[in-house]
């Protein structure tokens, strides 16, 4: 699907042993009673010009991971390197530069806009804040951005509420590329959209990646969409990275039982595929509040042995470039493609 050129594999963002715990309970003086382990010891790389798809169910920590990658949250421990520099050790000046290089696309763009501002102002604001341009130059740049995302430049004089949902998302995308960033975190950018509009936004994201040489961290719960857009996939489960590697490699060899279950859970869009036997994962996602030791998937896993409940499986490279956190020698064999 996505051709990966070995030479072009330059790392833009590396995450090393990243942890983020949210304390709950406790107060001003008393210590926190417990911690939500939102992101727990995650290590991965995002390559320049490519897309890392971050997939998992609600509460798996994918959004927190995205926010950490943009330094929008303080971390608990670990490091994130952007072009070789630790973003949590940036000087004020470096940080300001980083804010222009890394951007976020929200799930619900509309609620991230100030609804009293016109679209021109919404898109132009980052340009003003970072002193890129002003006056008529600013207006030209906004018009160009609107055209880039497939909208009419005249829209800059309208208010966002007059737009359809898909157009609002395009405005969000236009704003995020205004400063010519290198890296964009897209947090479920299509999950609030209707089917006929989704395709338009996905195509746009892919086109922009090619024309603007963008690197994406694409966060989604829909593994089909992630597969379509991403060169690499990271599967998360309750704060842990369970499987990570190139997209087609992961689809060809599902080495973690959860990845397999996630794939099997997606309804197949073909009525003739109904006969295909698929294992339905039982149970529910456990709480991320002070999770017990061992593999977090163990309670729902068919293969779980005693060891899985006691020790945390480390993330190991089981095939070239394909990392898995599982003690068992599992490989998924469902007839899904």
């Amino acid at each position: 699907m996505t051709e990966i050129d070995a030479k072009a594999k330059e790392t833009l963002l590396s995450v090393r042993n990243l942890k983020k715990y949210f304390p709950i309970g406790g107060g001003l003086i008393s210590k926190a009673k417990s911690n939500v382990h939102a992101v727990d010891d995650v290590t991965l790389d995002v390559y320049a010009g490519q897309t890392l798809g971050l997939v998992g169910e609600s509460g798996c920590g994918k959004t927190t991971m995205g926010r950490l990658a943009l330094k929008l949250l303080p971390k608990t421990s670990g490091e994130i390197y952007f072009q070789g520099e630790d973003i949590y050790k940036y000087t004020a000046e470096q940080e300001k530069k980083f804010r222009t290089r890394a951007q976020l696309i929200f799930q619900d763009s509309f609620s991230s806009f100030d609804s009293r501002n016109k679209i021109g102002k919404i898109i132009g604001e980052p340009l003003e804040v970072h002193n890129y341009c002003s006056g008529s130059e600013l207006e030209d740049r906004v018009a160009e951005l609107l055209r880039t995302v497939g909208l009419k430049p005249e829209l800059m004089h309208e208010y966002p509420h007059t737009l359809a949902a898909g157009q609002k998302q395009c405005i969000g995308i236009a704003r995020s590329i205004a400063l010519n960033p290198a890296f964009i975190v897209a947090d479920e950018p299509i999950s609030a959209l209707d089917v006929s509009v989704r395709a338009m936004v996905l195509n746009l994201l892919k086109d922009l990646q090619a024309s603007h040489n963008l690197t994406y961290m694409f966060i989604s719960h829909d593994i089909r969409v992630v597969r379509w857009l991403s060169s690499h996939i990271a599967v998360m489960y309750v704060g842990k990275l369970v499987e990570y590697g190139e997209t087609e490699e992961i689809f060809a060899h599902r080495l973690h039982p959860y990845t397999e279950a996630l794939l099997c859970a997606v309804p197949i869009e073909d009525p003739r595929a109904r006969h295909i036997k698929r294992e339905i994962l039982l149970g529910e996602v456990p709480s991320p509040v002070d999770p017990p030791p061992g593999c977090r998937f163990a309670a729902r896993c068919k293969l779980a042995s005693e060891r899985c409940f006691k020790e945390t499986p480390p993330l190991l490279e089981r095939r070239p470039g394909h990392w898995v956190a599982c003690f068992e020698n599992f490989e998924g064999d469902s007839e899904i493609s």
Binding site: T2, E57, V195, S196, L262, A265, I268, R272, I280
Partner: protein, 331 residues
């Protein structure tokens, strides 16, 4: 639009129109919708948000509130009874025993101050005529039927003590306790995670086999359609634009809108560029003249702009209807 196979039909909706009268004008949420549901089948009602799927279901149960909503015309015949001709006080027999509905948001549909057991028991008492211990036993049995572990204990749980997936199981148990002729499921899995969604879909498939229910399944997910439905009715801008069996939908659909959304699926699988239906979803306050889809349709001709298409029977047997001047199906 006439159905030829009339003998198995348990529910038929004829020319249903429901509008909301707002200060800004009339919103035609449902506009002349007709379809029938055959006994024992699962008919999927498919469309994007605002296409009128839910309002169709609410109209069938006469749950559209005036003001601003009003059923303007139409007929709903459930097992020989014309629902709209019944006095309002008799509607309680239709809601529940006739048609029971599973809603999108299980949390906001359950009573937070009652145990889930009591809520199921209430449905059992009203609809099955059981009382006291007997009804309680039945309620616990229902919990088991929807695969809730240790139902005797769970009977005493309050809704907030359950997860989203569990709550949706309770909603299904309540709906089934009514022993409805038709079960209406309104996007029952759209607030759930994908592995939980798979569990609920699997449960509904099993229950369909076990208790032979007729289901009207409202959804916008074509994957769910492929897994659950026998027949499919596609809605666009308040109108029904195509009705056919699920295999025809995926292999030989005729309406350009249906073809468009189907095209995205293959492209998604093959990794190519996705099919785009150009333009925006329709504004129900300002619908175009002629065919409601014509501003977005790549096959649009002059006639489409002025004349609203009627229904064409493509199969000759009444199984595949489309509302288009120039249907695209392979002959």
């Amino acid at each position: 639009m006439e159905e030829t196979k009339t003998k198995d039909i348990i529910l038929s909706v004829k020319d249903l129109s429901t509008s909301f009268f707002l200060r800004e004008g009339e919103v035609k949420a449902v506009d002349g919708v007709s379809f029938s549901v055959r006994k024992g089948e699962c008919l999927a009602l498919v469309g994007e948000s605002g296409s009128g799927k839910t309002v169709t279901a609410l109209s069938m149960l006469r749950l559209v509130v005036w003001p601003p909503g009003k059923i303007k015309s139409g007929e709903v015949i459930l097992d020989g009874v014309s629902v709209f001709d019944l006095p309002m006080k008799n509607m309680k027999d239709v809601r529940g025993k006739g048609m029971a509905m599973i809603l999108q948001e299980p949390m906001s549909s359950l009573n937070p101050s009652q145990t889930i057991g009591q809520q199921i028991q209430e449905a059992v008492e009203i609809n099955q005529g059981l009382k006291g211990e007997e009804a309680k036993k039945k309620a616990i049995e229902m919990l088991g039927i929807v695969r809730i572990p240790s139902p005797e204990k769970r009977y005493y749980n309050y809704p907030h003590e359950l997860s989203g997936g569990m709550k949706q199981r309770i909603m299904i148990a309540i709906a089934l306790s009514c022993r409805p002729k038709v079960l209406i499921a309104d996007e029952p899995t759209c607030s759930l995670d994908v592995t939980i969604q798979a569990q609920i879909l699997r449960l509904m498939q099993q229950l369909r086999k076990e208790i032979d229910t007729t289901i009207l399944f409202i959804t916008s997910d074509l994957g769910i359609v492929a897994e659950m439905a026998d027949r499919v009715a596609i809605m666009y801008a308040g109108q029904l634009i195509e009705i056919c069996d699920v295999f025809t939908l995926f292999e030989n659909s005729a309406h350009p809108y249906t073809k468009g959304i189907m095209g995205s699926i293959t492209a998604m699988k093959e990794g190519g560029r996705l099919n785009i239906i150009s333009g925006d979803p329709p504004d129900l306050m300002a619908l175009p003249s002629g065919c409601k889809f014509h501003p977005r349709c790549e096959y649009c001709q002059e006639i489409c702009k002025t004349e609203e298409p009627g229904y064409t029977d493509l199969s000759g047997t009444g199984d595949h209807w489309v509302r288009c001047h120039f249907p695209l199906n392979k002959k």
